[in-house]
Symmetry: C3
Subunit: 341 residues, 3 copies
């Protein structure tokens, strides 16, 4: 597939500097692009690569005189790049139908594609244009909206709902039991039945190995446009607001309510029964132990050091209280001396 620059600008806008008939077959980074490639400049630290790139054209915010390629000028080059890349790399065609090895009891739209060895339980509804990869397990009464795609080996438990145009990666699990137990006097745990559901909106992406527990009484809710990376754990009755994105390995404990348009860095942990406001950015590795009520960026990680330096410096963490006491005592004694002087 190849696109002319004129076609690209006709579809996505932007100002073309150069010949419209130049053909683009691929997107590539500035430094490794070849003829026929379209590159982009989003981060100014790569500006010097404009003078040496072999790309046929570059998407950028304003024309750089040193650029040796054609250019498309647009205020958001990275977003423009995303759109062109989608056009150049359309989703694979669907081959509608149910593979003969699949075991299907539910209702499957005629335009859906059910892969080898899938299991679709009684009462499940698979919408038009849906793709299930091999080995997917769809529980009873699950609903999957139009044009949603599941990679291989996705498990969705009974009664959960997935919206339209979602993408769910392999080994993701939707609707497993939340972690809820009462404790007997001898320490033994009594399971609290987890009778809620997981409700997933439209245009949600869920990464490989990510697990989302069903609600205990009410539901766990993932709003429209949420993007979850791999190996994220979402506890029961969590609510994640629209267009919030989380990087890999984030853990969210039960009943946390996360706002809209938040970003959460990799490996962050959000404890349970708290609220995070809209438009909050949480840095990678941060443990959120109380509610965040104001938009902004929040961090809580320690620097790493050469191991010997770390031993020397971080051992004082056990004695910060004593350090503060010593400073107070010094202040008192010094004030006494100053009064006498």
């Amino acid at each position: 597939m190849a696109l002319r620059l004129s076609e690209i600008v006709a579809r996505f806008g932007g100002e073309l500097v150069g010949a419209g008939e130049i053909e683009i077959a691929r997107i590539a980074p500035l430094d490794s692009a070849d003829a026929g490639d379209l590159a982009f400049l989003s981060n100014p630290k790569y500006r010097s690569q404009l003078a040496t790139t072999n790309a046929s054209a570059v998407i950028m915010a304003s024309l750089d005189p040193g650029c040796r390629a054609a250019a498309i000028l647009t205020p958001q080059p990275y977003l423009y790049y995303a759109r062109v890349a989608q056009w150049l790399n359309p989703l694979p065609d669907i081959q509608p139908g149910i593979h003969p090895s699949a075991v299907v009891f539910g209702a499957v739209a005629a335009t859906a594609s059910i892969g080898p060895h899938c299991h679709v339980a009684h009462g499940a509804t698979i919408g038009p244009g849906v793709v299930l990869g091999a080995h997917c397990s769809i529980g009873e009464n699950v609903e999957i909206g139009a044009d949603t795609r599941l990679a291989a080996s996705v498990s969705i438990y009974a009664n959960c709902r997935v919206g339209c145009r979602c993408l769910i990666h392999s080994a993701a699990v939707i609707g497993s039991d939340g972690f809820g137990f009462a404790r007997e006097r001898d320490g033994a745990w009594v399971k609290i039945p987890q009778v809620g559901r997981v409700l997933i909106g439209d245009d949600v992406e869920i990464g490989a190995g990510t697990t989302i527990d069903r609600g205990a009484l009410g539901d766990t809710v993932i709003a429209d446009g949420v993007k979850l990376d791999n190996q994220i754990q979402v506890g029961h009755n969590v609510v994640i607001g629209p267009h919030t994105a989380m990087a890999g390995c984030v853990g969210i404990a039960g009943s946390a309510v996360i706002g809209a348009r938040c970003t959460v860095g990799g490996g962050a942990v959000i404890l349970g029964h708290l609220r995070v406001a809209d438009d909050v950015n949480i840095s990678a590795g941060t443990l959120v132990g109380k509610s965040i009520t104001t938009a902004g960026t929040y961090s809580g990680t320690v620097p790493f050091l050469d191991h010997k330096q770390w031993l020397k410096n971080f051992s004082h963490l056990r004695h910060l209280e004593m350090m503060a006491d010593k400073i107070r005592a010094l202040e008192t004694r010094l004030a006494a001396l100053e009064n006498n002087a």
Copy 2:
């Protein structure tokens, strides 16, 4: 299914305040309960909701004069709620038999249910009342005890044992190789065969995506009543004592020995070759780098801050040793001045 309050009290005890013929169909939280619902008051901060709840009855520790509903008085309301919830939400009925798409070489009890596309290898034993969801892989010589239930896509490697009445969620892996290698002079790794097993007791729950490695020489042991949440990693030769519960994303390195009735918060990491005593509570996100010999609660996480405040404050962590030196120097100089005064 509906239960009369008189039936509930007859079965589980407690003092009934109100009409025994009131019928309960569901459990619900105080603030969203409707007529026909049973709510509970466990956390005193929700006490004010007793005056406004629409629940037909409330489980609580002592009668609250402001409660507008009927009441069941019991010293442990949360535990009582768990029991009633189990009664109202019984496990789904089992349909005994082996789905024709399953590939079964082992021995399956007549009352067990083997789901679509399961694989049960030679020498495996599946006990009475066991349920295997779709796509489960049961290795050679595995033993699964009575009434244990596996959700879809659980993998159990050869020779492992699972007790009775366990519940294992999707994408859990039992018996993968432990991480054991010796190193050659050039840095290459030589694998140490992992020939032990995983032995899992009775009444254990294992969350979605949780992985438990087999022992290197001896066995990895999960005792009776242990509850493991999602995406927990248990290294080879770990021992977890009875009724210990761990929240999501905990990692336990090889040969750690964890006591009975411990709780481990989400995202905590327990390093290898150490011991944790009985009745230890480890806070979420804590890294346990040495043995804990005394029951109690242990924590080791840093607060999060607004990003600019974090930058300002946490940069000093690299210089705590210097700070302590400065305080010592100040004390010496101040003492000299005081002696001269």
Copy 3:
């Protein structure tokens, strides 16, 4: 299977102290070994066990006069133990052939073994001696090199390559989409197609539940001899150098480049777009937030404390800047007094 000490020494070298005809059937730890077992002494803290062990022979670096068993002397006892253990525990025999329940469109070598319910898509190539456990999904055009073994329920997406003699554990996912999105003004995310691959070298081990994302434009590369434990997340376009080993639950963000022969402890997080030099050791739980250019050991975790002590000491972390200010003020005031004295 039993081996005489003379056979072992003939094959792997080392100096035999004792009778060559002693037979060994198993490897066992010093403290639990029985007659017929071979133990090893690698960590000097177990030296006292030499006097009481029931092992028939012990691998050690130098002869210990208190040792009651025969001995094999070798400069690297742990490596020697690994080699003997491999000899005593050979990989299970392969039963070549394609299970009738598998759905295979690609090319499978005659000596490969394809387990029940596998799916091998069009254009995939499965090399000689390869073993696929049950429920593996092999995408279009995937190449798997000779003698590589996959446990049950491994998913490999289209176009990825796995080398020879690799071992991949259950629920591992190779080639899922990287996490790449551009953002619209209203906060909505536009997916950037992930069109690169995952390229895995020879002799790589990948743990259960580990996920490796495909590259966005270029490839994600795992070099020869890399060992990845369970539940590791590798972002798009990451490069991991030869013989680097990572313990469980490590997370690596996109485009990080990790050197050769590194070790990364459990639960560590490596942020994106940075470099880690060769021969770097990163301690468990450390967050690597900037590049490491020099070989060595690096750490960045906080100690844990009794919860009350933790509350008291760690609350000062929010006020380290103020503490440093106070020390500076004390120094100034003290210097003024000293000048006046």
